[in-house]
């Protein structure tokens, strides 16, 4: 609204963010856990006087350098570029609030790259003590980066006291910070162990392989053990809405939770079987399976975290659309187009409704929805008539708490509905008038109520109207829906339809 939108409707912004973010977080967490793995494994090699372990660490550190210095560093810049393109309002806000946090993270990044170069290029060329010390410095700097960035990430989901104080430290030490940091730290170690397994099973055979599978297995096993309490702790700090989403309110969160649980179960089984029982049977294929399973686990966790923030980009402060919560009502009362800087249409006239609708989609919907690959909004509307589209737009918050309400006036809602209808069907309905609905109860219920309600005795529609028995009272209630609940749209059918629907609800309830 404040910024132009980088508009790629077929791909959609969230897909680009998801792609860049997931590859970056996996590599960046590996950069932290791998740092500790390198020094502890090197130390083990020296302590046990095993050259093959030192050689193993040396080779590992080359890959580590190539992965973290190049891919990790540049995708880090890439995710920064990406969020600024997709969510410039939120990025600007985060940059202005936490600039010195980011600046400190930059200093840690300087230390990281110097230490990583010195560590890799000086294997066997400096004393063991100094080499290990440089490895430790690398790890502490990398973990320090995680501490800073994770503060900003968790702030977006649980800003806590910052919402009232605006204080930097309240933002950093937000309610989700510590638990998430512990959780992510264990994830870092699990990733390090899983990569260690990949190289150990590829490089070694016999007893050496068994020894190193066992060693790396420990990393994963104890990381999984640490992940359980920290995940519970993290869960306890989640906002109410995110918890509701996990418990069934959000399809994507529930699906991701299943992925998370299944992948975790597989990891536990793998670990128990191979680490505690049949170490010698663990091969390269198992290592790949383990690595991919951790990847899925991590991806599922990130999806839950991202989805749990909806409908906000910064919880209770800014919606995903870039509109600040404090400005929402004012914008809604006036006009989204009038309040937007980057639109070709400011005022809706009979000739520009469709064009205006397209502009509103770009400003209001595109932050989460695409017209193509991910979260395709058009596909969802396939069987909807114009009235239904209009109604859904007007009652988004009522339908799902994971979407912000529509921040436009009635004309803008109609323009958006018409634009959607045309996108779905290729043209507007004849004469652009509300479609007639047959006066039959189930069809009326389907048309006017089924967006949010089910024909079931547990549904609030039936529970809340238990005491209403007369047809007149029920008809009256249907006529005042938006007064009774501000998240509900007004009934948009005609008098005959209203009466027929009231009759159906009473009859249907008595049958149940």
């Amino acid at each position: 609204m404040n910024y132009p939108v980088w508009y790629l409707p077929v791909i959609g912004g969230p897909l680009i963010i998801a792609f860049v973010a997931i590859v970056h977080v996996v590599v960046s967490h590996f950069a932290v856990g791998g740092g500790l793995w390198l020094v502890l494994t090197e130390k083990k090699g020296y302590r046990e006087k095993k050259d093959y372990i030192i050689d193993y660490v040396k080779k590992h550190s080359k890959f580590f350098l190539l992965l973290t210095m190049v891919f990790g560093a540049l995708t880090g810049v890439g995710i920064w570029f990406t969020i600024a393109l997709i969510h410039p309002d939120a990025t600007s806000h985060l940059i202005h609030t936490f600039v010195f946090g980011w600046a400190i993270e930059w200093v840690l990044f300087v230390i990281e790259i110097v230490a990583a170069f010195l560590y890799f290029y000086n294997f066997g060329k400096i004393s063991e003590k100094l080499h290990l010390l440089i490895g430790w410095i690398y790890f502490v700097a990398a973990w320090g980066s995680l501490l800073v960035i994770n503060a900003i990430l968790t702030f977006m989901l649980t800003p806590g006291k910052w919402l009232t104080t605006g204080n930097f430290w309240d933002g950093i030490f937000n309610p989700g910070y510590l638990s998430s940091t512990v959780f992510r730290t264990f994830l870092c170690f699990a990733l390090a162990g899983s990569y260690g397994l990949l190289t150990a099973t590829r490089k070694f055979k016999g007893d050496q392989k068994k020894e190193l599978v066992n060693y790396n297995g420990k990393w994963i096993f104890w990381s999984l053990a640490g992940l359980i309490p920290s995940a519970v702790w993290y869960y306890l700090t989640l906002p109410e809405l995110a918890v509701a989403g996990i418990r069934g309110g959000s399809k994507i969160m529930v699906t991701s939770l299943w992925h998370l649980a299944i992948s975790f179960g597989i990891l536990v089984l793998f670990s128990v079987y191979f680490y505690l029982w049949k170490t010698e049977k663990f091969g390269f294929k198992s290592a790949i399976a383990m690595f991919l399973t951790i990847f899925i686990f991590f991806g599922a966790f990130e999806f839950i975290r991202e989805a749990g923030r909806k409908p906000y980009i910064i919880k209770d402060y800014m919606y995903s659309t870039g509109i600040r919560v404090a400005d929402f009502d004012q914008i809604k009362d006036r006009s989204i187009l009038m309040n937007s800087k980057w639109t070709m249409v400011r005022e809706i006239t009979p000739g520009n409704e469709i064009k205006a609708g397209g502009e509103i989609f770009r400003i209001q919907c595109y932050a989460c929805h695409s017209l193509g690959i991910k979260n395709n909004i058009i596909g969802k509307m396939a069987g909807w008539d114009l009235n239904k589209i209009r109604r859904i737009i007007g009652s988004l918050k009522g339908i799902t708490p994971f979407m912000p309400g529509f921040a436009g006036n009635d004309n803008e809602r109609d323009a958006l509905a018409k634009w959607f209808y045309q996108e779905v069907h290729g043209s507007l309905p004849p004469a652009d008038r509300p479609a007639e609905t047959a006066l039959d109860g189930p069809a009326l219920f389907d048309s006017f109520c089924s967006d949010c309600h089910e024909n079931s005795p547990e549904d609030p529609l039936f529970l809340k109207t238990l005491t209403v028995t007369s047809l007149e009272d029920m008809t009256d209630i249907l006529g005042r829906l938006n007064e009774l609940n501000e998240d509900m749209p007004p009934f948009e059918g005609n008098e005959a339809e209203k009466r027929a629907l009231a009759e159906y609800i009473i009859k249907s309830r008595s049958e149940k």
Binding site: P4, L74, L85, F100, A103, W106, V114
Partner: protein
């Protein structure tokens, strides 16, 4: 002008006074410019080394030496670019994000190109014995990627200064624009390319002298100083052209309109000439000192050009927030000093152990 003001996004408040961010962005940009100059010159020299190395072993060895250095220099150039990019987003984020959205596709693809180029640099660096033909063209590719990176950065940095060109957004919203309609963009870019070679040429000469000693390094000191010297003189047409096509009110500030800035621009112009002259005379140390001072002048002048472009839109500059963060800034400065001390300690300790 009112229309332009209306499309500029509203800024977010600053946690400390703008002057602090100006200092930090100038300081870190100075370091970034030096590191990019070194990186780009090494990439160009590596390519020259591999191309000339077909018929001359010495050039091939030189190309390999440059190839070994390149990954470090890319790492530091990227790292030292993060800080000025951060501070500029704090000061002028509303201008910067808008410009980057207009060139969004090119902006994001930059990361893909850079990853490819960076891995290319490592591939060359780690494979001493590989096929020279492949390396030769890969070196050229890496150099072109780095040059393209500079081109995109100049695009976004010039476009953010020109809200009058932003309405092109509506002709295509997918971010395929470049700032080619801005006449200042190309001379600014060519100036940078030569200026970077002028900086890095001196580094190559100094590095060769330190690494190989006075006698053995002679050809490479001559190469580095010549690269720097000629590049200095090649920047001058771009500098003059750039000054000529700056909007009248801005040009006027540097050409007699404001005595202080006129002196600064004269210093910058003659500083380049003196650096070029000293470099061509192979007077490495004086040339480096003059270049170092000249870079300070250049960075300050560049900042001034930016503020002159943006001054008409000053009502869209960030104001200071009610919740200031001065103690956090001090914490950052302490961390920075401690971090630099730690880096210096690691380098010194490693060097001492390696040299026995």
């Amino acid at each position: 002008m009112n229309n332009l003001i209306n499309i500029i996004p509203n800024p977010d408040p600053l946690p400390v006074a703008a002057g602090w961010f100006q200092i930090l962005s100038h300081l870190t940009y100075y370091l970034h410019l030096i590191s990019v100059g070194i990186m780009f010159s090494i990439a160009v020299s590596m390519t020259v080394g591999y191309f000339r190395g077909r018929s001359d072993e010495n050039w091939l060895a030189f190309g390999k030496e440059m190839a070994h250095l390149l990954p470090f220099t890319i790492a530091f150039a990227v790292n030292l670019g993060v800080a000025p990019l951060l501070f500029i987003q704090v000061l002028y984020g509303n201008f910067f994000y808008t410009a980057s959205t207009l060139i969004g596709m090119n902006w994001i693809l930059l990361i893909v190109f850079l990853i490819t180029g960076y891995y290319g640099a490592y591939w060359i660096s780690f494979r001493d014995a590989g096929k020279q033909t492949v390396k030769k063209y890969l070196a050229l590719f890496v150099t072109l990627v780095l040059a393209w990176t500079g081109f995109i950065l100049v695009n976004v940095n010039t476009l953010m200064l020109r809200p009058s060109l932003w309405n092109r957004y509506f002709s295509h919203m997918g971010g395929f624009h470049l700032n080619t309609a801005d006449p200042t963009m190309i001379p600014r870019y060519t100036f940078f390319l030569f200026f970077l070679l002028a900086i890095g040429g001196l580094f190559i000469a100094a590095y060769s002298r330190i690494k190989h000693g006075e006698e053995k390094s002679k050809p490479w000191v001559a190469y580095g100083t010549s690269l720097s010297g000629y590049a200095c003189f090649l920047t001058l047409p771009s500098f003059i052209f750039y000054m000529r096509i700056l909007p009248h009110n801005i040009r006027n500030v540097f050409l007699a309109g404001d005595p202080v800035w006129t002196i600064v621009s004269i210093f910058c112009f003659f500083g380049i000439i003196i650096t070029g002259y000293l470099a061509l005379r192979k007077r490495l140390m004086p040339a480096s000192v003059v270049m170092g001072i000249n870079l300070i002048i250049f960075v300050i002048m560049r900042g001034k050009v930016r503020s002159l472009f943006l001054d008409p839109f000053s009502e869209k500059f960030s104001a200071i927030a009610a919740n200031t963060q001065y103690p956090i800034m001090v914490l950052f400065l302490v961390t920075l000093l401690a971090g630099l001390a730690l880096v210096a300690w690691m380098l010194r300790k490693t060097y001492m152990e390696r040299s026995g």
